[in-house]
Amino acid sequence: MTQAYFRTDMLPPRVPPRGQRGALKWLRENLFASVTNSAITVIGLAIVVWLVVQAFPWFAHSVWNAKSLAECRDIVHQTWGPDASGACWAVIHERWNQYLYGFYPMDAYWRPNLAFLLMLAALAPLLFTHLPRQLLWYSAAYPALGYWLVWGGTAWAMVAILGGFVAGWLAFTLVKRISAGLAVAVAVLAAMGWWLFLAAPVTGALAAVAPLTLDFVPSDRLGGFLLSIIVGICGIVFSLPLGILLSLGRRSDMPLIRTFSVFFIEIIRGVPLITLLFTASFLLSYFLPPGTTFDLVLRVIIMVTIFSGAYMAETIRGGLAAIPRGQYEAADALGLTYWQAQRLIIMPQALKISIPGIVSSFIALFKDTTLVIFVALLDPLKGITDAVRGSAEWNGVYWEPYIFSGAIFFIFCFGMSRYSMYLERKLKTDHR
């Protein structure tokens, strides 16, 4: 029997030495691999500990209910001793409505709230492609609805403005069979004709029959995150089509259009947003027919859109440049027209490639909405905080408002960047 000489079963693997497994191994490899590494770890931990030790008591001694900063400090001193310092979140508790709505009339808060909810509903069919396509009609009508809800006035004015688009679309579908170019011209004429001649009498007549009016709220009453979100969302929604057009213009075969696009993009990208906002606030009225003025917030939105559109154009141009020439040739071979090829073949791919850049532009735009303070609109960072600090009760409060509005901005921007990562993963079609 030589059987006994051989082992017939496998030996189970031995457990690694204690330093080579579990938490200890992880610690050694990730934190204390070498002397320098250990030193960096210790320094890093020291910084974290120092920050926590410095900030923790301040947060722990938070006061949520007080009528003024002095009362806040009294409460902190009474509860935690004369040397204690504590956060006074009462300022947010008392003035949160100004941070969210600025000086919007309090009894009308339901209007921006409703507009916000309806906006989410209008954005849904744009963001989620499996929703019924008919909802896009609602999305198209939303800007007028949102404007009416926030600023007020008569609803029929908005209906009349939308009517121009409907008139243009009707004219376009009627003439389309004859010639597409002609149809565009006729559609523009029809819309213009409606707005110039028919809109005012129709508005008057409809308003006389059924007055659908909300109290008018002037723009200087808007402020805080309401203003930021209005400017931000409008800029985002309008700058994307502008950017697409500009990027196509920059890659166009037609020298005139290409030159115009290049100049437009480079000039806008070469100047700071503040100069454009100054233009909106000081200069734009010079370039309009004498006597016309229009709302400062609208002017700011136009400038922000132009500014962001130029950046968007460069981002999308990057995406366009990454598309292989074969795609264009394939579109030509299929007999698609320029716009069909762009819509069905080129743009879906180009936009997909440029998603990270587009979303960073969106984030930058949203952060830049705070710059409206330089044209005396009440942004949530400085405008509202200065207004709050200007009152006798809250004079001297610094960190709490900054932390509060900073946190809201962080949530929005961080959320957007995470959404773009999700979108990138979802749209990834190559198999690597």
Binding site: V271, Y402, S417
Partner: protein, 417 residues
């Protein structure tokens, strides 16, 4: 874009203006030109009418009028008797000053953070991730306001440094005082100064020029010495040590120059309720500089990280296999390739930093937007001229930066043969 671009054969017919792809281009451009011309004409006509009505013809003469306001930080001579034009120049120089300093410090911090974020050390890479995500997802304006608030709220007033037993202490052996209005720094002085040269617009210190000349010479000399070392290496196979010469040129020569000129620091001294002597740098400057640095560094860090990750691992392994030391691998193999990815977005970050410096107005740093686009505009009411000049100045800065960086970019670009 398409292959069917070539004009179709055959004679030209009028209908081809709409149907032929080639001729349709002309039609579209013609229409576009008409529309553009119409729009520009309409805007210009409106502007002429409006300016006429207000009785203000565009005129840049106000630039030569007395400004009448003080500027808290000026790098060239300026008093409130100077002209608006000079005030604008002071503002422009302040903008350039903070932008250049910001670009340098943001690059240093950004590279450091970007490399540390790639570190295998868990604590430090997480810390850097948190820093990057928190800072870049919050508006720059907030960081400027916060840093400015820290500088003004948690520092002592200048008069607390007074007396034999002051309540506040100066730093660095009584050389630096951080107060709630300014930071008092020692100023560089020379016993045997070479004097200044008056360029008409501003004075140029010959001492500074001499120092720059010596450093330029040192760079040239160092390069020549390296070339010589290279030749020796080619000929004999042994590379002579270059570092002693480098050290001598870059440290020895400037130190010798400074010693010859009698360089010394003159510390600020308390006189009355304020510091005199030294350099009193206003807090808004530091707030703006730190804010721009901390904010832009997060973007640069991400660019650097992406650049380093873009160099494939095989390159490092190949370099190590060839026997290069880790330092050499980094310097000769990884960095040149990473730079190619890093430089173009880095340029746009420098441009962004310069444009973001206009946020100075929020913390009352006297940059171009605060002098020309702020006080001058409000005093004279010349909005059109002021904003036009401001835009031109920023366009020029942007153009110069992008041209300079594109030249550099070309030198590190992949040489395709």
């Amino acid at each position: 874009m398409s292959l069917a671009d070539s004009p179709s054969a055959g004679s030209f017919r009028l209908s081809k203006l709409l149907t032929d792809k080639h001729y349709r281009g002309y039609t579209i451009q013609f229409l576009f030109l008409i529309l553009l011309g119409g729009a520009v004409g309409w805007l210009a006509n409106n502007a002429v009418q409006n300016l006429d009505r207000l009785g203000i013809a565009p005129d840049f003469g106000f630039l030569w009028n007395r400004a009448g306001y003080d500027i808290s930080m000026k790098l060239i001579h300026y008093t409130n008797d100077s002209t608006h034009g000079r005030a604008a120049l002071v503002g422009l120089i302040n903008t350039l000053f903070v932008s250049v300093l910001g670009c340098v410090s943001a690059t240093i911090l950004g590279v450091l953070v970007g490399v540390l974020r790639l570190s295998r050390n868990w604590v430090i890479s997480r810390l850097m991730t948190v820093y990057i995500e928190v800072v870049r997802n919050v508006p720059l304006l907030l960081w400027l306001l916060v840093i400015f608030a820290v500088l003004t709220e948690s520092t002592p007033a200048p008069n607390e440094f007074r007396g034999a037993n002051p309540t506040a202490q100066m730093w660095f052996w009584h050389n630096v005082a951080v107060t709630n209005r300014y930071v008092a720094l020692p100023s560089p002085e020379f016993w045997r100064s070479l004097g200044n040269v008056d360029l008409g617009i501003f004075l140029v210190s010959l001492d500074l020029m001499a120092l720059i000349a010596v450093i330029v010479l040192a760079v040239l000399g160092d390069r020549a010495w390296r070339r010589r070392a290279h030749r020796v290496q080619e000929a004999t196979g042994r590379r002579p040590a270059t570092w002693p010469v480098t050290l001598l040129l870059f440290v020895g020569a400037p130190v010798a120059l400074l010693a010859a000129l009698g360089f010394h620091l003159s510390a600020p001294v308390m006189k009355g309720f304020n510091f005199t002597g030294g350099i009193l740098a206003p807090n808004p400057f530091f707030a703006l500089w730190f804010g721009l640095t901390v904010y832009t560094a997060t973007y640069i860090a991400e660019i650097v990280r992406a650049g380093i990750l873009a160099v494939s691992k095989g390159q490092t392994e190949a370099a190590l296999a060839l026997g290069l030391r880790p330092g050499q691998t980094m310097r000769l193999v990884v960095l040149p390739q990473a730079l190619r990815v890093i430089v173009p977005p880095l340029i746009s970050q420098f441009l962004n930093l310069t444009k973001n410096s206009t946020l100075a107005a929020a913390i009352s740093y006297p940059d171009l937007g605060a002098t020309l686009g702020g006080i001058t505009l409000n005093q004279t009411g010349r909005a059109l001229e002021c904003i036009l000049l401001m835009m031109l100045a920023y366009l020029a800065i942007s153009l110069v930066i992008s041209v300079a960086m594109n030249l550099f970019n070309r030198s590190v670009r992949l040489k395709e043969r």
